[in-house]
């Protein structure tokens, strides 16, 4: 199974990659929502978790979360928002829309790993 990271920062994708690979999952990277949705169309059956940034060029992470949770093929995939948006109402909005978890940047690798495992039901 694969874990998808959607983030416009290449370095954040690399950080997530190094954490995820240790857990023996394959990583799929997308630099924006559009690229992520294109990949999901073909590979949604293999994606175990989506780690989603909020502020990205084009469609933002919250809009993408809404799309995922409305789509009958995608809505079962857990989504963790990984973002520097710390506003309390944003966290509530994301969780109400169906996000499984919300991780605020900056995060430690340990924290990221722990949250990923929780999302996958292995916590």
């Amino acid at each position: 199974m694969k874990i998808m990271t959607v983030d416009d920062s290449a370095i954040v994708r690399k950080i997530i990659r190094s954490a995820v690979e240790v857990l023996d999952y394959e990583v799929v990277e997308a630099k924006d929502a559009k690229e992520a949705l294109d990949i999901l169309e073909d590979e949604y059956e293999d994606i175990a978790l989506i780690l989603l940034d909020w502020n990205m060029p084009g469609m933002d992470g919250f809009e993408m979360l809404e799309l995922i949770k409305k789509d009958k093929h995608l809505r079962h995939i857990p989504v963790m928002m990984v973002t520097s948006e710390t506003g309390g109402e944003n966290i509530i909005k994301a969780i109400q829309t169906g996000a499984t978890h919300y991780l605020v940047k900056p995060f430690t690798i340990e924290e990221l790993t722990k949250r990923i495992l929780e999302c996958l039901g292995r916590g």
Binding site: A10, V12, S18, K105, P106, F107
Partner: protein
């Protein structure tokens, strides 16, 4: 309604705390700060990398986090878990830009919560030797030094 405002001193104080929090969290380094920024001048002769971002609105300022190339490689290596020798130039540039993005983003969130109107520009990074940045307002510039073992960083905040 209460007037909410922010001056350079407050912005700088929040940023200093954010530098320590963000770098400690992302790299695990034990970061200490030092108000003496005089060593910054020595930086001019070595290859330097600077992550830069501007805030705009209730206060207009440019935030720059500078370090030498070797330190930046170490920082990004600890952030990503990639060996310093395996890092590309682009990784290092991205890493420095992302650090500034995280620390300015965090300060912006705090200030917006207090009721200030602030936008942030996209981060960028510059590397080179003898780098000098010139701003419209020459006087209003605050610098602080951060040390983590052999790694030395300078945060400079300039009003624009």
């Amino acid at each position: 309604m209460d007037m909410v405002s922010v001056d350079m001193k407050k912005l700088n104080g929040l940023l200093n705390r954010a530098v320590i929090d963000v770098i400690t969290t992302m790299t695990g380094f034990d970061v200490e700060d030092d108000p003496d920024c005089s060593q910054f001048a020595e930086f001019e002769s070595v290859e330097t990398i600077i992550g830069v971002m501007a805030v705009f609105g209730s206060i207009d300022a440019v935030v720059a986090l500078a370090t030498d190339i070797n330190s930046s490689k170490l920082i990004v290596a600890y952030m990503t878990g990639i060996m310093p020798t395996d890092l590309t130039d682009e990784d290092v540039h991205d890493g420095m830009a992302e650090l500034v993005n995280m620390l300015v983003g965090r300060v912006k969130a705090d200030l917006v919560r207090e009721g200030l109107d602030l936008s942030i520009t996209s981060p960028f990074s510059i590397s080179g030797t003898n780098i000098e940045m010139v701003f419209k307002d020459r006087e209003n510039r605050i610098c602080r030094r951060f040390i983590a073992g052999d790694v030395e960083m300078f945060l400079s905040v300039a009003k624009i």
